[in-house]
């Protein structure tokens, strides 16, 4: 069998083996010994041609059903300019590795520098890294950073209103370590920060909050940073970066660390990945930010160039003394966000955020008129809101009927939290991409079901 990804001919193999001075390729594996060498091929299928694979994948893909998504919970269907896919699939971007050799990676390094700059501009903070795995892992890195920044601390306060999966990822991180997570309870859908004072102590490294939070609600952090700083603790705000086009930025709240996921900025739904975690920090935390960081400098002739920098922070140098182990990140996804933001500009970002706001409020307003559902908490939201049903049967019927119309009506909160208390909560997300027709289709179907 000929493999197009392996260029060797029989003559090549013979000549190469002769040059090496062995009889056969098997001789090169003699070190494995008879105990380990497999006698048979591993039990997976035989190879297929390109066409056969495409047909097989086509049939698998048909088992995915697409609908008009009013789904959010950390992954949103926004409009993406055509430039994003076209430019991010340029082969040298796709097939390069981490830009260890700066001289032959200037384009990638400069793009990361632009990404860092844009994340700083959007969050209002001073320094950003080249990306993290996703929003949940950015929360883990923020927790580690805050613990490392405060001597003898071991507790991270986390709002109960952060994304349920991010909370799960944080709990896994704390498992079996000296660190612990203490939850700040919620009150009417937002973090009850009145409780903060009583929970602060020497052992508290900092607080992680999220806005828009797990219900889509916007939270008010007035004086939170001051209270934390007075205790020598730090504030981390997790935010959908697109929401920051209209809501107060982490820096404006006085946060030390901003985290989140750039999925809303140019990345497809893609069954949840790859997305792209981001982190920005204040100048004081510059040397503690995890992951890769690109900096501008000059060469011996004074020409401006870009390079990976501040590497003494990283795992390959600090090894067991490192506070983060991240090596590969989500570079290509970060590039997509950079292209997306370059295409939109600030005006475009504000437009997308405002239209999402308007359309979400339009749908919410009209749904609230219907019997059997309520918008429980009268709190500000952006592009996603919690719709609470009077009973589970009605909710099931609602979801089923709308799916029959080709509409994915929302995410059941209980599918994330696995809690019966959340069973009647449906999270409905509306982005600028949802057309008026799609909104009216949703409303018409909802009116039929909720008579």
């Amino acid at each position: 069998m000929i493999y197009p990804y392996i260029p060797h001919t029989d003559a090549d193999r013979r000549a190469m083996l002769k040059a090496i001075g062995v009889e056969s390729i098997d001789d090169l594996f003699s070190g494995l010994g008879a105990d380990l060498l497999l006698e048979d091929s591993v039990p997976i299928s035989h190879g297929r041609t390109e066409d056969e694979v495409q047909r097989m994948i086509d049939s698998i893909a048909q088992r995915n059903v697409r609908g008009i998504p009013f789904l959010g919970c950390g992954c949103y269907d926004h409009i993406t300019p055509a430039t994003v896919r076209a430019l991010s699939s340029l082969p040298s971007f796709v097939t390069a590795y981490t830009p260890y050799q700066a001289e032959m990676s200037q384009g990638l390094l400069q793009a990361i520098y632009e990404f860092q700059s844009m994340i700083c501009e959007i969050t209002g903070l001073d320094v950003a890294n080249a990306s993290l795995y996703d929003g949940a892992n950015a929360a883990v890195e923020a927790a580690s950073l805050m613990l490392a920044a405060k001597r003898k601390s071991r507790v991270v306060l986390v709002s109960e209103t952060i994304h349920p999966f991010a909370l799960k990822v944080l709990n896994t991180w704390a498992l079996g370590t000296e660190h612990s997570i203490t939850l700040i309870p919620q009150l009417d859908g937002t973090a009850d920060l009145e409780k903060l004072e009583s929970m602060l102590g020497d052992e508290v490294a900092g607080l992680i909050v999220q806005t828009p939070n797990r219900y889509g609600l916007l939270e008010d952090y007035t004086s939170v940073a001051e209270r934390l700083h007075a205790n020598g603790s730090l504030l981390t705000i997790s935010a959908d970066p697109l929401s920051l086009a209209i809501q107060k930025s982490p820096a404006e709240w006085g946060a030390d660390i901003a985290i989140g996921d750039t999925q809303a900025l140019g990345l497809p739904l893609a069954f949840g990945g790859p997305s792209c975690g981001y982190m920005a920090v204040s100048q004081a935390l510059l040397r503690r930010i995890p992951g890769r960081v690109v900096g501008a400098t000059v060469d011996s002739q004074g020409r401006r160039g870009y390079t990976l920098t501040l590497q003494a922070r990283e795992q390959h140098i600090k090894r067991e003394r490192a506070t983060s182990n991240i090596c590969s990140n989500q570079a290509l996804a970060a590039l997509m966000t950079t292209i997306h933001l370059s295409s939109l500009g600030w005006g475009g970002m504000v437009e997308a955020a405002q239209q999402s706001y308007a359309k979400a409020h339009y749908l919410a307003y009209h749904l609230a008129q219907l019997p059997g559902v309520t918008l429980v908490w009268d709190k500000p939201f952006w592009c996603e809101f919690p719709l609470v049903f009077s009973d589970a049967k009605r909710m099931r019927k609602f979801l089923q009927e709308l799916r029959n119309e080709g509409i994915f009506a929302g995410v059941r909160l209980s599918s994330l939290t696995r809690k019966s208390a959340d069973e009647l909560v449906l999270l409905v997300a509306v982005t600028e991409k949802r057309s008026r027709e799609e909104l009216e289709l949703y409303l018409a179907a909802a009116r039929r079901v909720l008579k």
Binding site: R151, R287, Q311, A312, R313, I317, R321
Partner: protein, 127 residues
């Protein structure tokens, strides 16, 4: 051959300690700075905090290495050498004239237990 000053005491982690009255000055040795190469950053400890002997108190970085500073004697940090903030290379230029921080009060008996110049020279030779 590393430079070693007679009137100082030394730790196995290559820090030196100099006593001036009630104050103990702490820096890194010539051996340590040479191992690191060109120093680009010094993380200074917060003033007012008490550190135990053997506790990691700060970090000195070159481009391709990061070396923890292990506090050689227990004490309270009363001063960090702010000169190093913009000019970490001062340590390469003269590591004994440029301390990292000052402890006061400090543990005299732990100081007495550190190596003398001769002992440190022997220790270096054994590495």
């Amino acid at each position: 051959m590393s430079k070693i000053l007679e009137n100082l005491r030394y730790s196995k982690d290559h820090e030196w300690v100099r006593i001036d009255g009630q104050r103990a000055f702490v820096g890194i040795t010539d051996h340590a700075q040479a191992e690191l190469g060109e120093i680009v950053y010094v993380e200074l400890p917060p003033v007012g905090e008490r550190y135990e002997q053997g506790e990691e108190i700060s970090t000195v970085e070159s481009v391709k290495a990061a070396s923890p500073i292990v506090n050689p004697v227990e004490g309270v940090v009363v001063e960090a050498n702010e000169n190093l903030d913009g000019s970490p290379e001062l340590i390469n230029e003269d590591c004994y004239a440029n301390h990292l921080y000052v402890l006061s009060p400090f543990d005299q008996s732990q100081y007495d237990g550190l190596m003398s110049a001769d002992e440190y020279a022997t220790f270096l030779a054994s590495l």
